[in-house]
């Protein structure tokens, strides 16, 4: 249904039920706004920046929550609305820590952006500021309430993604702030470290904890610094340098990493292929031996955190496989070191990840080898990598396309690439399971049933004379539905893929933020479509690859032959598998 409205005196037809903000955007107007970033997901209407005049309403209305109606006349640029928006911003600024030059959100700060748009005057209002709560105890996320505008996006996102939200408003009035219960550190809370909150924060109140300094220090100390990049990274790094969302920039990324001084540039897709070998073997073994089923994937550290906190009784269902970058790190500090004749202690492994939870994961005590060396030493998010590239003076768009290093772990399959999107691990596993059980490659190669962004995807396959029931989900709110069934003994699946972030790693907390304000050239509905566009970039890279199945990766085959023996061998277990431990949600 369409309704007729006027904006700035011009006639438009817009969808009924949309908000003024959305309708105006569709008509070519971007109303300065802060608090509502996507329809339905946040309906706070609390920042009061997007005020416009609208007939049929008393006074000004917040366009982010006010629905259009037939015959409505909207005035965005009336002096009254312009002044009101400016005052709202000026009041917010009067309670905001204004060290914008040093703030790492500078460039992507929506408050700074609307301050410019609305013409906020310097020091318009001044006074006492709300008490600051600062928390940088986790390896993943920094919370600085002095930058918070209380829009509530983080609270909404945490709740909508994971059901049982960790963040909430505390106290009231001028003393209000956002924190985990009890204003505990995120470190002591049931936070999954997924960073979804970071990816929606309009200001610098929630930031990724940077590890650039660690990498710098390793380089300075003369360590053998190796970098690996997760599948999803290539699909989004370009966004930081003006490429349209969904542009894979694999070649330029590799070129940039070389110029940043990394000795070796590898693709974590190799680790993903290795994971498939181990995980598929583990699954088939569980099925054959009557082991604990369903087996659940373990690639997503946010999900592992969730399982340990909320479903400790189901930890036996979680695959013992380490995540791909941890496996790759373990191999780098064993087989690679051996091959290259380097002391593993001199190797420094950096993972470029779409993920903030990986920062936490790499510090887990279970992720160390016998010598006490961590598999991975530093994890940088996509945004941190972009920061490093920018500060080095590299003009990303002018870089040539280069190839990953080819030695030892340079080969990777398309199956490894699609790990970055929900359903990808499942599909990669199915390609290999099909081969093992049927004795031949799956002709169609792909398994479309497990693709897409539905809350829960399920499929059944007749393989090797038996039926394999699988399910795929992402976001802990969705996962809990499947997990409750497992707990109740009602689950019909043998294998479940669970990713922490809704949509998988392409929507990880370490990915570039997607905001209309900063993406003037993107589609109007970009906040709804960016995940699919990033996913498409991965699927097309899979298609372009001649190698489509993990088990056909010759370097993987060589690795087993020359070093590990066979999947799930004793050495493989030692290096590539891990264990889990129940934990209290709140740790005093």
């Amino acid at each position: 249904m369409k309704v007729n409205i006027k904006i700035e005196g011009k006639d438009y037809q817009v969808e009924e039920g949309t908000t003024i903000l959305e309708a105006a955007r569709a008509c070519g107007y971007e109303i300065p706004s802060l608090c509502s970033y996507n329809h339905g997901e946040c309906s706070q209407g609390s920042c009061r920046v997007c005020l416009v005049e609208a007939t049929g309403a008393r006074g000004l209305v917040a366009s982010c929550v006010y629905p259009v109606a037939e015959g409505m006349e909207v005035k965005i640029s009336s002096p009254k609305a312009v002044a009101a928006r400016r005052t709202s911003v000026e009041l917010l600024l009067s309670n905001h820590s204004q060290n914008c030059q040093q703030c790492r959100k500078n460039g992507h700060c929506e408050l700074l952006y609307v301050a410019q748009l609305t013409g906020a005057r310097e020091g318009a209002f001044t006074g006492e500021k709300t008490e600051t709560h600062y928390d940088d105890l986790t390896p993943s996320i920094i919370r600085d309430s002095s930058k918070c505008i209380l829009c509530g996006r983080c609270i909404e996102r945490c709740k909508s993604a994971h059901g049982n939200g960790v963040l909430g408003f505390e106290r009231r009035g001028f003393k209000t702030f956002v924190a985990p219960a009890g204003n505990l550190s995120l470190d002591k809370s049931p936070c999954l470290m997924c960073g979804q909150c970071v990816s929606v924060c309009p200001t610098g109140a929630l930031l990724v904890k940077s590890e650039i300094g660690k990498v710098d220090a390793a380089m300075v100390s003369g360590k053998h610094v190796i970098v690996q990049t997760a599948p999803a990274v290539r699909a989004a790094l370009g966004e930081e340098f003006g490429y349209p969302i969904g542009t894979a920039v694999t070649g330029k990324m590799v070129a940039a990493l070389r110029r940043l001084g990394f000795e070796k540039v590898y693709d974590t897709d190799f680790g993903a292929d290795l994971t498939i070998m181990e995980e598929a073997t583990e699954l088939l073994h569980r099925i054959e031996s009557g082991g604990v089923l369903p087996m659940i994937t373990s690639c997503s550290p946010g999900w592992v955190n969730y399982a340990e906190t909320y479903y400790p009784d189901l930890l036996r269902h979680v695959s013992s496989c380490k995540s791909p970058h941890e496996m790759q790190g373990a191999i780098l500090k064993s087989y690679y070191a051996q091959q290259k004749g380097i002391d593993p202690a001199d190797i420094f492994v950096v993972s470029i990840m779409p993920c903030t939870a990986k920062k936490y994961e790499k510090d887990r005590p279970q992720m160390k080898n016998e010598a006490g060396l961590k598999d991975v030493d530093a994890v940088l998010t996509v945004t941190e990598l972009a920061e490093m590239i920018r500060r080095s003076g590299i003009l990303f768009k002018r870089l040539p396309d280069e190839e990953y290093d080819q030695d030892i772990m340079g080969e990777y399959s398309g199956a490894g690439t699609i790990f970055g999107v929900t359903g990808g691990v499942m599909e990669a596993a199915l390609r290999t399971a099909y081969f093992v059980l049927e004795g031949k490659e799956h002709e169609g190669i792909t398994f479309e049933q497990v693709r897409g962004f539905d809350d829960v995807k399920e499929a059944s396959f007749a393989l090797g004379g038996q039926t394999l029931n699988v399910a795929v989900t992402s976001g802990m709110r969705n996962a809990s539905k499947l997990l409750d069934d497992v707990r109740a003994g009602k689950s019909k699946y043998q294998f479940i893929e669970i990713m922490c972030c809704p949509g998988g790693c392409i929507n990880g907390g370490g990915m570039p933020i997607v905001r209309h304000a900063f993406l003037p050239d993107e589609d109007v509905d970009i906040v709804d479509t960016y995940r699919a566009k990033r996913a498409a970039a991965l699927y097309s890279e899979d298609e372009r690859n001649v190698l489509r199945q993990s088990h056909n990766n010759t370097q993987i085959q060589a690795l087993y032959k020359e070093f590990l023996g066979e999947p799930n061998s004793h050495l493989a277990h030692e290096l590539l598998h891990t264990s889990y431990k129940a934990r209290e949600p709140f740790r005093a």
Binding site: S46, C47, L60, T87, L91, G127, L150, R171, R172, F174
Partner: protein
């Protein structure tokens, strides 16, 4: 358990007769009525009751005298009261030691105790009967029907006093006709906004939904206002009846009372009355065999002023932080648990039974063109008669303050009346002859509000008053939207600067700008009206602000940082009282030898010296 209206009417006839006999003496007994309102209870009504009982026992007249504890009499500044029937003699400001005299002289010997009878401060005339006192003359009790008459703990008395007649009438009508009657009555929301009640009901009625709800807003939180508390405490059945009528009209089977936890007695009364009504079949399934089912539930507020805002209130019932949400959707479309819901104030619901019991015309007899019926006010501040009054709309402020209120205390000059609490504004001399109704109050720059009416005299500093309200709102802002959360804080800071002598004209401009922004930018009514006390005091008393800022003077001599206490050496009798009273020990002199002098560097302006001086030697500048 009553199964039909006829059955109930039969019992009611008995209850009415029994109640009447307590007033007209037909049962051959005399009745002593005590005010059980919170004011009088605090002033020892219970103590009086115990004394009465023991002296009645002592003089052996227990079989001839009954004691009844009823609801608030309204004239709180004259309490506690003892009222005796059938003569209808009112004793006021009664102390325990007066009781024996009342029992002996009046109850035993039929002689009025003259000294305890109300005396008109203007004429000195003794007025024996309550209804002859000017305070009561211009009042009309519709919402407070039964208050001060019935024993609120006895549902029989409520029924005997017209209770449930309105509901029984409504249940014989079509639901649409019930709504039409409320529309025709012109009843508007008594919580402050003045939205036509009938229209609210109509919206909810029009919604097609399997579940709907009626919510009674009893989160009265304006400082100095307790209209709703009285209605809930003193005639709980009347409010329940109003809620049931609303439920019938819109098609709701459940109603929720939301009452602030600070009103334990109101909570207890509503809880007990609901239980009793359920037991009697006056609430529950198939009420009086009419097929109409209605259940009343109780929820407590937990200490947040903002929950008086309807969407915040609904969030609170739903177990959330009491933060308002944007409208639309309005609660009538999507309220409690997403279902159509009407939220009506206590006083609004308490007024509804009257419309059906007495008829629409009887209700519209009172009031102005666009505001019908009556309004309850809590008259407070510097007025002589502090208390609870219910007046027909259209009564002027002058009548309210000077006739009913008895004028200003200590013969001081009237300066302003603050209505609408922290959301309202000040009205002055020039508004005194304005007939009180929703639209006139807004036109005059204030609002009706829930009914707080604080009278101020020449000794009140209007900047200080604005600061008081701003401090309140700043504490009670939910913190959700930025104009209210930060704007009220900034305004409070500016007012603090101005009253401490550090204000600048830039501050003054900022104050007006932020105030305007709060009005247009805030999410809910609390924020939108938060600046009203400032805007209206600026409108009427701009000079006072300027005096604080430019002359660093507080004309009303209230703001401590802007006043100086000095001792007039000509008047000082060297008695040393001031010096001894001074907590700072900063008044120096030798008793009987030298005049005393205040060392200004240590003076904290506490005023103890002024109070202690018997010779009027200390002045404030």
């Amino acid at each position: 358990m009553y199964r039909s209206a006829e059955e109930l009417q039969k019992s009611i006839a008995t209850y009415t007769r029994e109640l009447d006999e307590k007033f007209n003496g037909e049962d051959g007994k005399r009745y002593v009525m005590l005010c059980g309102g919170t004011g009088c209870m605090a002033a020892n009504s219970m103590g009086l009751k115990e004394k009465l009982e023991s002296y009645i026992e002592k003089y052996g007249i227990a079989d001839r005298v009954g004691i009844r504890m009823v609801g608030c009499f309204g004239m709180c500044s004259q309490g506690p009261f003892v009222r005796i029937f059938p003569e209808n003699t009112l004793y006021r400001l009664v102390k325990e030691e007066d009781i024996e005299e009342i029992v002996f002289d009046d109850l035993l010997n039929g002689k009025v105790v003259d000294r305890l009878v109300y005396e008109d401060p203007a004429t000195g005339e003794k007025i024996r009967k309550m209804e002859d006192i000017p305070f009561y003359k211009k009042q009309k009790r519709i919402a407070l029907h039964g208050c001060g008459v019935i024993d609120p703990n006895r549902i029989e008395e409520a029924l005997g006093c017209g209770g449930y007649q309105g509901l029984m009438k409504a249940l014989t009508m079509d639901r649409a006709d019930v709504i039409k009657a409320v529309l025709d009555s012109g009843l508007r929301g008594r919580g402050g906004g003045g939205f036509p009640t009938g229209r609210k009901w109509q919206f909810a009625y029009n919604q097609d939904s399997d579940e709907k709800y009626v919510v009674c807003n009893g989160d009265e939180g304006d400082p100095g206002a307790f209209m709703d508390r009285s209605a809930l405490e003193d005639n709980p059945l009347g409010v329940i009846e109003g809620m049931a009528i609303a439920g019938y009209a819109i098609g709701a089977r459940d109603g929720y009372f939301y009452i602030r936890a600070e009103y334990p007695r109101a909570v207890e009364r509503i809880k007990n009355t609901i239980a009793k009504a359920e037991e009697l079949g006056l609430l529950g399934d198939d009420i009086l065999g009419t097929g109409f089912s209605f259940h009343a539930h109780l929820r407590l507020g937990a200490g947040a002023f903002v929950c008086g805002e309807e969407t915040a209130l609904l969030n609170s019932i739903m177990g959330l932080r009491g933060m308002p949400r944007a409208r639309p959707p309005f609660p009538a479309v999507s309220g409690l648990w997403g279902k159509p819901t009407i939220v009506n104030n206590v006083e609004t619901l308490a007024s509804v039974p009257y419309i059906f019991r007495e008829g629409v015309e009887e209700f519209t007899k009172y009031g102005t063109e666009r505001s019908k019926g009556t309004k309850v006010f809590c008259l407070g501040g510097k007025v002589v008669n502090v208390g609870l009054v219910e007046i027909p709309m259209g009564t002027t402020l002058r009548e309210l303050i000077f006739d009913i209120g008895g004028g200003i205390q200590d013969g001081k000059r009237f300066k302003a009346i603050q209505t609408g609490g922290p959301s309202g504004g000040c009205l002055t001399e020039e508004d005194l002859d304005t007939p009180i109704d929703f639209d006139n109050m807004v036109a005059a720059g204030s609002m009706m509000g829930s009914g707080g009416a604080i009278v101020m005299d020449e000794d009140n500093c209007m900047v200080d008053v604005a600061k008081f309200y701003m401090g309140f709102i700043c504490d009670e802002s939910c913190g959700k939207c930025s104009p209210c959360r930060i704007g009220t804080k900034r305004m409070l800071e500016i007012l603090n600067r101005i009253t401490s002598g550090a204000g600048t004209m830039q501050d003054f401009d900022d104050l007006e700008e932020i105030a305007a922004a709060c009005k247009t930018n805030s999410l809910c009514a609390l924020g939108q009206t938060s600046a009203n006390p400032i805007l209206s005091t600026i409108a009427h008393f701009r000079d006072e602000y300027i005096a604080h800022i430019q002359d660093k003077k507080c004309p009303a001599k209230v703001c401590k940082d802007l006043i100086t206490y000095t001792i007039d050496p000509d008047k000082c009798r060297k008695c040393s009282m001031c010096s001894r009273a001074c907590p700072m020990e900063t008044i120096h002199g030798q008793p009987g030898k030298t005049v005393f002098e205040i060392d200004q560097s240590n003076c904290i302006k506490c005023g103890m010296c002024l109070a202690s001086c018997k010779f009027d030697a200390i002045s404030i500048d």
